[in-house]
Amino acid sequence: MSTRSTTRSKLRVRTGLGRGARAVRTGLDSKRASSRLTLPARGSLGKPVTPHSTPPKLGGTPIAQRTTPGPGGIAGLRAGFERWVNPVLVAVLIALLVFGAAFLRTAVHADSSFKRQLLGIGIGLVGLVVFWIWDYRKLKDWVIPLFILDVLLIVSPRIPGIGKYVNGAWSWLAIGNQNLFQPSEPAKLITILLLAAIVANYDGELNDWRSFLKVVGLSLIPFVAIMVQPDLGTGLVFIVIMLAILLVGGVRMRLLLGLIGAGAAAIALIFWVNTFTYDAEKDEYKILKKYQLERLTGFINPEADTKGASYNLKQSKIAIGSGELKGKGLGAGTQSNLNFLPERSTDFIFSVLGEETGFVGCVALMALYLALLLVALSIARASSDLYGTLITAGITGMWVFQILENAGMTMGVMPITGIPLPFMSYGSSFMITNLAAAGVLLSIWRHRPYQSVMKGAFDEAAL
């Protein structure tokens, strides 16, 4: 019991600090925040985290114009803009899309690839607008259809005739030789919508292990489905999505830590059991394939062999490192142009960026990512309901993990798996999914308790 109370108090201290800091900035203490009605409180919680989300010029606009939204007129447009548009998110998205597309133009040398990527962006933007307009809250009641759609998407590459086996996994839908798309990409977003809906139903009361196991069990179904393909990289993304949603969904810390512990034990067990499945005839293991093991060992000991799995890592590190401060210039990367870098438009695009734009370019991208992720979290706070918060947590988790894994792998801090870099890597399914996710974020933003925010802003201004 004493241990438990210590943990609790520690948590309190930590969260108290965070809240204290926020209270200072907002001029609101936590009691006031929690004593308020739900909608205003959320509004005031959301706003301070994104202090620049409102363009400065709005601060100078007469209050009367802002508080009286009417049909038509400049005031109406402004009010509509404020309700619909999260300016930071939109600005970051535009920056990422332009940066990504422009860079891809130099990284991929085939025009057809670039056109396909532009098509992906186009379709993705349509998807973004659709989700933006649509009320995401309707999805909350669609758990079963989402579940079915999710699993169907994941296993669809196994369907004879339309599925395709690429790079050791059933991962593509194709007609003839024409690759259409990778269903595992939209499945990521659907999994987020699904898990968020399941967890949101508990309304932040996921305290008993029975409910917890039930939720985890349901969450693991898409994961198991993707692991059967087998797609370890996407599987890891699913795990991170689940953990992010469970974390923010209010699962008790000890249950969450227990889950992580059990997961670690399971991984250890898999490795151990794997050693017994060695098939001498095929010179291959049954559970974790040799190339997967090699990637893992290559990450741990990159000097072991330079031409095998760790060759890619070595060349990637040389590419990034040789970019130094300012890079070799766009299109002037020798590591990429002379084919030392593998998969330079997809998995290793960050290496090309590092080589050609140097520390300056990489840090600029990191700054954009940081802004994207933090603005997403601010939207989570601004959300009118827990469902929206959890969706945002899932999307943030998905993005942050993909950024960490992709950029980390190119620099030797993460094992090599085939995970692309959001908004940068070549891949239209991936691009469409990420833009659709951004559309969902905008939808959540649009459905935030808007009026109260305006009032809150007014109140704060008055104070």
Partner: protein
């Protein structure tokens, strides 16, 4: 707001912390890679893409003394293919089998020949080997048009050595080949790279440092597969310098023909094994080697692109009579009677005899009271002879007596003196692999018979055998030419040389070889030299060498010799050493025909032909007789 959503917003802070942490980790890693270790990775990326390649420099030409091209370069199309791992066709992979078969069909070679060319030793395992050169344009275009059928096969323009005179002077010129592993470790070849073409024998080897040009360098940008994308920097190759030899190719040609003619004559006379021989022509005034001929010989062109192991083995077998051996400098023979001249000079010099000293020849000679006599070649005996007569008649008994006096003296002055004439040590000619010859003495015999204590004693018989140029005494034809040239020029022991001059690509002489005296000079008075000159002239005008030079316009002086080999198991070896004109010597010739019989009848006529060429007389075959030894 209820407790649980409050918990959610707190949990969002954890997520935000994770986000910041992740970005921080990535930025720190970028910092480490790009800013702290950036220079190292830049070096690694440069190392990845930059390759230094070298371009071969044209090798210098080799010219004869009159500027005729003996060795030059020629551009040719060569088919290059990756080396094979096995010489056994059956052990090759299916792809390699197919490639070998296709190359064989296309190049009109057998599969075995292709495999031989692709398994020549040396070079890196990945390097291409030359399968064939002088490939027709038709074949070249067939191969390039069917590139997929010939994986990794390349058609390259190569400069190969060309020999306008074929096998003529092969031993002097030598041949070239890929540098060997042992040469690469040799300090003489510092800076050479594997697959460099270097001189392997003869002048090619001797003047390697001059003939070899300076490789050009190329800085290339390569891609991950090692293919060159562009040339970043280029320094052109510097051509090697031309070497002019002292050889006169027209004399060389006559010398080789004379040897062949001598062998033919010997065979007709019943010496069936007369198949090999050597001739050296020296300019006695300056040590220039005007001709150096050997039979059997070989064609240096056979070595272009590497010699197949089978051919190499054959060339080094006894049945082929070792055609690669430069007998003039590498092979050692007993000098037989040609030695008597040198011995006589020593005896005069050391005061054991005078020009007037006479001995009586009864056809045999006995050491003190021993019961086994040494015979003179003339079993009837020469009667009383002075030195000149003894040399003219090549009387053995006279020189047994001289030998006895040397032995009695006890100081090995005979050995000492003939060593001062250049026997027993290399002459110092530029060619690699020169033999020392052997001047036996007590110390040598003791060492030679290390394991046979009863045979270690230096006996009177050893000196007596040596006094007629037999026993354990061995010389090279070149050594004999040099020692006789010393007499001919009045006493200067010269270092023979093949190099006349070195000139650069513009034709300017950058080095001229001067007359070089040997480090130590023999002691010989003018009068004793003149005594011998008279005697040597007498050999040709009156004595054992008269027959081959009958009716010859030029006054030749010289000495014949007939060497017994292996106790008579082989036919006798025929010697002639002499010079002309007798009164004002210019050229000295030493000729040896292995198992050719008598010096006067076989070697003498060959010398006559060469002298004829040297003095612009009609080169003709003469029949001669000689019974002396």
């Amino acid at each position: 707001m209820n407790q649980s959503t409050d918990r959610s917003s707190r949990r969002l802070l954890i997520l935000a912390s994770i986000v910041v942490l992740v970005i921080a980790i990535l930025v720190l890693r970028l910092w480490s890679l790009q800013l702290i270790h950036g220079a190292e990775y830049t070096a690694a990326s440069v190392n990845n893409r930059i390759r230094m390649a070298t371009t071969a420099a044209p090798r210098g030409r080799i010219l004869d003394r009159n500027g005729k091209e003996l060795v030059t370069n020629r551009a040719t199309m060569a088919v290059m293919a990756p080396a094979l791992s096995s010489t056994d066709y059956d052990e090759l992979s299916d792809e390699k089998k197919l490639l070998v078969s296709r190359l064989a069909d296309t190049l009109s070679m057998t599969r075995e020949e292709v495999i031989e060319k692709l398994t020549t030793t040396r070079e890196g395992a990945l390097d291409l080997r030359m399968v064939a050169f002088d490939v027709s344009m038709k074949t070249v275009s067939y191969i390039t048009e069917h590139a997929t059928d010939f994986p990794d096969v390349e058609v390259q323009a190569k400069a190969v050595r060309e020999y306008p005179y074929g096998s003529l002077a092969a031993h002097v010129l030598g041949y070239t080949g890929e540098i060997s592993d042992s040469d690469l470790e040799n300090p003489d070849f510092a800076g050479y790279e594997p697959s460099d073409v270097v001189g392997k024998a003869g002048a090619e080897r001797a003047f390697e440092s001059v003939l070899q040009g300076v490789r050009g360098t190329r800085t290339l940008e390569v891609d991950a597969s090692g293919k060159a994308r562009q040339i970043l920097e280029e320094t052109p190759a510097e051509s090697g310098q031309d070497v002019t030899l002292t050889i006169d190719i027209s004399v060389q040609k006559v010398a080789e023909a004379a040897l062949a003619d001598a062998c033919k004559t010997a065979q007709k006379d019943g010496f069936k094994n007369a198949k090999a021989g050597s001739a050296v022509v020296l300019d006695v005034t300056n040590g220039e080697v005007v001709a150096m001929a050997n039979i059997p010989t070989y064609a240096p062109a056979d070595f272009i692109g590497g010699i197949p192991a089978k051919v190499w083995k054959q060339m080094n077998s006894k049945t082929s009579n070792y055609p690669l051996t430069n007998r003039a400098t590498m092979s050692m023979y007993p000098p037989a009677s040609t030695f008597k001249t040198l011995e006589a000079l020593g005896a005069l010099n050391d005061g054991f005899i005078t020009a007037a000293t006479t001995f009586n020849c009864s056809g045999s000679w006995t050491w003190k009271d021993w019961n086994r006599p040494w015979k003179c070649w003339n079993h009837y005996g020469h009667g009383n002879l002075n030195l000149r007569q003894a040399i003219e008649e090549s009387c053995d008994v006279y020189f047994y007596n001289v030998g006895e006096r040397f032995y009695e003296d006890g100081d090995e002055k005979l050995q000492e003196y003939v060593r001062s004439l250049g026997l027993g040590s290399p002459t110092g000619i530029e060619l690699p692999g020169e033999a020392s010859g052997r001047v036996p003495d007590a110390a040598w015999k003791k060492k030679w018979n290390e394991d046979y204590p009863e045979m270690q004693q230096w006996n009177p018989g050893d000196t007596i055998n040596m006094s007629i140029g037999q026993g354990d005494l061995l010389v090279t034809p070149l050594q004999m030419a040099v020692s006789y040239a010393t007499i001919a020029n009045g006493g200067d022991l010269l270092t023979p040389h093949l190099l006349k001059k070195v000139s650069d690509t513009s034709g300017k002489t950058v080095y001229k070889q001067e007359r070089t005296l040997a480090k130590t000079q023999p002691k010989a008075s003018k009068s004793s030299i003149n005594t011998l000159k008279t005697a040597l002239r007498g050999v040709i005008s009156e004595g054992t060498g008269k027959s081959p030079f009958r009716g010859f316009d030029i006054a030749v002086a010289g000495k014949t010799g007939t060497a017994q080999m292996q106790g008579g198991k082989q036919d006798d070896y025929a010697w002639f050493v002499g010079y002309a004109p007798a009164d004002k010597p210019k050229y000295c010739i030493a000729i040896l025909i292995e198992q050719g019989g008598h010096g006067g009848s076989i070697a003498g006529p060959a010398a006559r032909q060469i002298f004829a060429k040297l003095f612009n007389k009609k080169v003709e075959h003469v029949n001669a007789v000689d019974n002396s030894f």
